[in-house]
């Protein structure tokens, strides 16, 4: 641990934008020792990605940099300042001294070349190698990152690998030149939790097996707890705290770190809706009334193309949602959870079984017959950036359901109700006159909630409403959501991939796996004592934001995976 692999001294990065100069990084100093895992955490816009990219000189043309980034070779010699080095020298040290693992494996790999070729490309850029030698090395590195049958798989194309395998290949690509430093920018964000756990396993062995130091950029505190040796917390372009991982989680010093850790949802943590009695009068829930949603043997099949068989997204699901109840639907990508939500909202056709929504059978329903029911259903979409028409003001967007269903004649006419709704989601009235892009992600998601609640629906479908948000913002939206649910008493289907988030909100939790409902019950039943092996796996692979507990869980997960 003599010389650091990389040393950043007082780095400042400023971008030219249409709105003038924007400072992204304001004087950051960092050191990464050989074989160390340093995690940089912070919310979007905190400058963590820009800091890490500057190590490889990967900033766009509009960036102005000052300060020094001293990158040394593997043996600790040949220290160069990346900010001043010539572009040919920069090309030489990329891959050799430091390599990068990107967030989205499917867009990083070029779909028209075999993966072996793509790995060998890095080799050939740095050394004179014959085709066979390069291939040998590619096979070797693929084996070391855990791709089975590498001699054969080396000639396969990216689409023939699963998401987790693709990320392994991207890591192999980074490791093939044996760099002293690997920068991993949100390496597991695009992956499901069970796959994430496997990739974390791989990243874990890099320092020992490959002797590489890792700079891990992430916003997931669970991943940090699992992997990191040291943590740097960034806020608004500055490092506000740097500490050993156990110290940081045990006794965070800076108020922002404390707030960030508090905001992380935990399984078995606070149940938001049990915190207090409703402040307003709840909607009287009639126990005699039938369920709001009842699915029996629900099947949804997407038609195949070019005479290929269709894809069955939901295969025989039974579930019901009682009035005033929150059902949490969890599952990994491709499990059919979003499809169920869309089927209930009438956005996707039901192809088999029965789905009753507010008394209307959705299998073979006509839009004309379903339209009156629509006003009793609200929908909150996943991505707050695209769920608003960019050319309408927030007030016009929120008024839309009122106008469509004839409650108000025009957006202006609906304004008093809109103001009321905005206040209900704790947005200032004046925000109604702003355009969607002038609101932050969390504010937009709250406005989206206001729109969904405009007609006082009996059923609300929330499709991953917080997964695009930062942790601190997510806490805010979830809190509001729970409050409104208690006050207004709507039934809710809450779809999420995050067990901890669902646990905070739901009365009952349903776990979906490949279109089949594998387990259903209250939060304590499903998450406290999971019965189905899939649920157990899901729960065990979820990294908890506590390094000590996570180490114990990791041992358990290794046991489960072996079984």
């Amino acid at each position: 641990m003599s010389t650091p692999v990389v040393e950043i001294r007082d780095l400042k990065v400023t971008f030219d934008t249409d709105a003038g100069a924007v400072a992204a990084v304001k004087g950051v100093s960092l050191q990464v020792a050989a074989g160390e895992v340093l995690a940089i955490v912070g919310e979007s816009g905190s400058g963590k990605t820009v800091t890490a990219r500057s190590v490889l000189g990967l900033l766009p043309e509009t960036a102005r940099t000052s300060g020094a980034v001293l990158l040394s070779g593997r043996d600790g010699s040949d220290v160069q300042d990346v900010t001043t080095v010539s572009s040919s020298a920069l090309r030489r040290l990329r891959g050799r001294d430091a390599a990068m693992v990107f967030q989205e494996p499917s867009s990083v790999l070029n779909p028209v070349f075999p993966v072996g070729w793509q790995i060998a490309e890095g080799l050939r850029a740095h050394a004179r190698l014959t085709r066979e030698q390069a291939r040998e090395q590619a096979i070797d590195v693929l084996r070391r990152v855990g791709i089975p049958d590498p001699e054969h798989r080396v000639d396969h194309y990216p689409h023939q690998f699963s998401g987790g395998q693709k990320q392994r290949i991207v890591i192999a690509q980074a490791l093939v030149l044996n760099p002293g430093l690997v920068i991993a920018d949100e390496p597991t964000t695009a992956l499901d939790v069970t796959v994430q756990a496997e990739i974390l396993d791989l990243l874990r062995i890099l320092p020992q097996e490959f002797g590489a130091a890792i700079v891990l950029i992430t916003h997931n505190m669970g991943v940090v707890a699992d992997l990191a040796d040291r943590v740097a917390v960034m806020y608004d372009g500055e490092i506000v705290e740097q500490a050993d991982v156990r110290t940081l989680f045990a006794s965070p010093q800076h108020p922002y770190t404390r707030r960030l850790l508090d905001a992380v949802p935990r399984v078995g943590g606070v149940r938001l809706r049990e915190r207090g009695a409703p402040t307003l009068t709840s909607r009287p829930v009639d126990p005699e009334a039938g369920p709001v949603v009842r699915a029996r043997g629900l099947e949804v099949t997407y038609p195949g193309r070019l005479r290929k068989p269709g894809f069955t997204a939901v295969a025989g699901v039974d579930l019901h949602i009682a009035p005033g109840e929150v059902l949490g639907l969890v599952g990994e990508s491709g499990s059919g959870k979003t499809t169920i939500g869309r089927a209930i909202a009438g956005l996707t056709h039901v192809t088999g079984g029965s789905l009753e929504v507010l008394g209307v059978e959705m299998n073979g329903v006509r839009e004309r017959r379903f339209r009156p029911v629509r006003k009793r259903i609200g929908f909150v979409f996943q991505d707050p950036a695209t769920s608003f028409n960019p050319l309408l003001t927030i007030a016009q967007c929120v008024a839309e359901p009122l106008v469509v269903h004839g409650v108000a004649d025009s957006p202006q006419d609906a304004r008093p109700r809109v103001d009321e709704l905005l206040e209900a989601v704790q947005l200032p009235r004046a925000y109604g006159d702003r355009f969607p892009h002038e609101l932050s992600g969390g504010q937009r998601q709250r406005a989206s909630l206001a729109r969904a609640l405009a007609l006082d629906p009996e059923l609300l479908i929330a499709d991953e409403p917080t997964s695009a948000l930062d942790v601190s913002v997510q806490a805010r939206v979830l809190d509001l959501f729970a409050r409104l649910q208690v006050e207004l008493g709507f039934a809710c289907l809450f779809i999420s991939h995050d067990l901890a988030v669902v646990d905070m909100l739901a009365d009952r939790i349903a776990v979906l796996h490949r279109g089949v409902l594998v387990e259903e019950g209250t939060g304590d039943e499903v998450l406290g004592a999971p019965q189905h092996p899939y649920t157990q796996r899901l729960l065990a692979s979820l990294p908890v934001p506590d390094p000590v507990e996570q180490a114990a869980r990791r041992a358990r997960w290794d046991g489960l995976r072996g079984a």
Binding site: F15, A21, A24
Partner: protein, 369 residues
């Protein structure tokens, strides 16, 4: 519908309304060479439009005037104080005909552009939104029309409309219709592609969930988001209209001199003069055609460059800039928040507007990723 699709939709920003108009907005954000191109284009276009509108005031004589005070102008009179640009072989005043010709060109542009926008955008919207067999048929037809040379079509239209006997409106309509036919596929393709993209966005689905009908979704949510690139095609369209009108006139299918001023016709008649050393009959209408086409094209080109963030040049940021924005998505700062609960969390994602200054730079993060 026409009012919605004209290229004067406003950009959602907090600036006075006039500053948000497409061209004005670009003019304000441009720098350097791009700004020069845009300004030059705008000046040329403005001169052209003003000439056309103010023709009765500017032109010393009428377009078909042969005599003043009972006296004939005479043929091929050299430029003088009476006739600043001389007279043509038929004895018309060249300057007057060039000025009146701008008016004819403007008519052609306006009619051609409006017709193609209305038809092209409507078809593109329907085709992209509903898809299915209508979409497939329209795309094939649009591809077929691409292969048509516009001048040939214009000649055909001129013969059909007025039997070759060109009145002013006959010539204008022949050009406008042929331009329309050729440009409908361009508007159609651009709008259709945008509609297909916008249709998949969450806000359109959200409108469907709300229960909005097709017409409402199409007009309120899809259309206005699908016409952003139209100003660029409009300029190309206008340029093509001027050139086709001139081409028709030059080939002899133009407008009779007694009906209106027509640059193409004047050029045609000036062909013989050039060899006999008479420059003043050919150059003015030629220059008018070139400058008009150039002006419109320059506007289009620079709008195109400015619309693309990769081609747009920006003012360089000084390293120690006086006024530097922040990239944090949490204006005011997370630190300002108190303990859990509404009171504390309120400041978590944005201070209320009285604390938040209006000039706060709106979201760097999307820009600088």
């Amino acid at each position: 519908m026409a009012t919605d699709t004209t290229p004067t939709g406003t950009l959602p920003e907090h600036a006075p309304r006039w500053k948000r108009l497409p061209v004005v907005h670009q003019l304000r954000t441009s720098v350097g060479l791009q700004r020069g191109m845009l300004v030059a284009g705008l000046v040329l276009t403005a001169v052209f439009v003003l000439t056309a509108v103010l023709a009765p005031l500017l032109a010393p004589y009428g377009w078909a005037q042969l005599r003043a005070d009972g006296e004939l102008f005479g043929s091929h009179v050299e430029p003088s104080s009476d006739h600043l640009l001389g007279t043509t072989v038929a004895g018309y005043d060249v300057l007057s005909r060039v000025i009146w010709g701008a008016r004819t060109a403007l008519y052609t542009i306006v009619i051609g552009v409006i017709l193609s926008i209305v038809i092209g955008v409507t078809l593109g919207l329907l085709s992209g939104y509903f898809g299915g067999w209508l979409d497939r048929v329209l795309v094939v037809v649009a591809d077929a029309i691409y292969a048509f040379p516009s001048l040939l079509l214009a000649i055909l239209a001129a013969i059909v409309i007025s039997g070759g006997q060109s009145s002013m409106w006959g010539g204008v309509m022949a050009t406008a219709i042929s331009i329309t036919v050729v440009f409908i596929p361009q508007y159609f393709r651009v709008v259709r592609a945008e509609v297909v993209r916008v249709k998949g966005e969450a806000f359109v689905e959200s409108a469907r969930v709300v229960g909005a009908g097709h017409v409402r979704i199409m007009t309120r949510h899809v259309l206005r988001n699908a016409v952003r690139t139209l100003p660029l095609i409009v300029t190309l369209n206008a340029c093509e209209a001027v050139l086709t009108l001139a081409g028709l006139g030059f080939l002899g299918f133009g407008i009779e001199p007694t009906a209106a001023g027509d640059w193409g016709y004047d050029l045609h008649k000036a062909l013989a003069d050039v060899t006999s050393g008479i420059w003043w009959t050919a150059i003015p209408p030629g220059v008018a055609i070139v400058l008009t086409a150039l002006g419109v094209t320059l506007v289009g080109e620079s709008l195109n460059d400015l619309a693309d963030p990769r081609l747009r040049t920006r003012r360089r940021a000084a390293l120690v800039a006086g006024e530097v924005g922040t990239t944090s998505v949490v204006p005011g700062g997370v630190l300002a928040a108190g303990p859990e609960g509404v009171d504390g969390l309120d400041a978590l994602e944005g201070a209320p507007p009285e604390i938040l200054p209006e000039s706060e730079p709106v979201s760097g993060p999307e820009e600088d990723r």
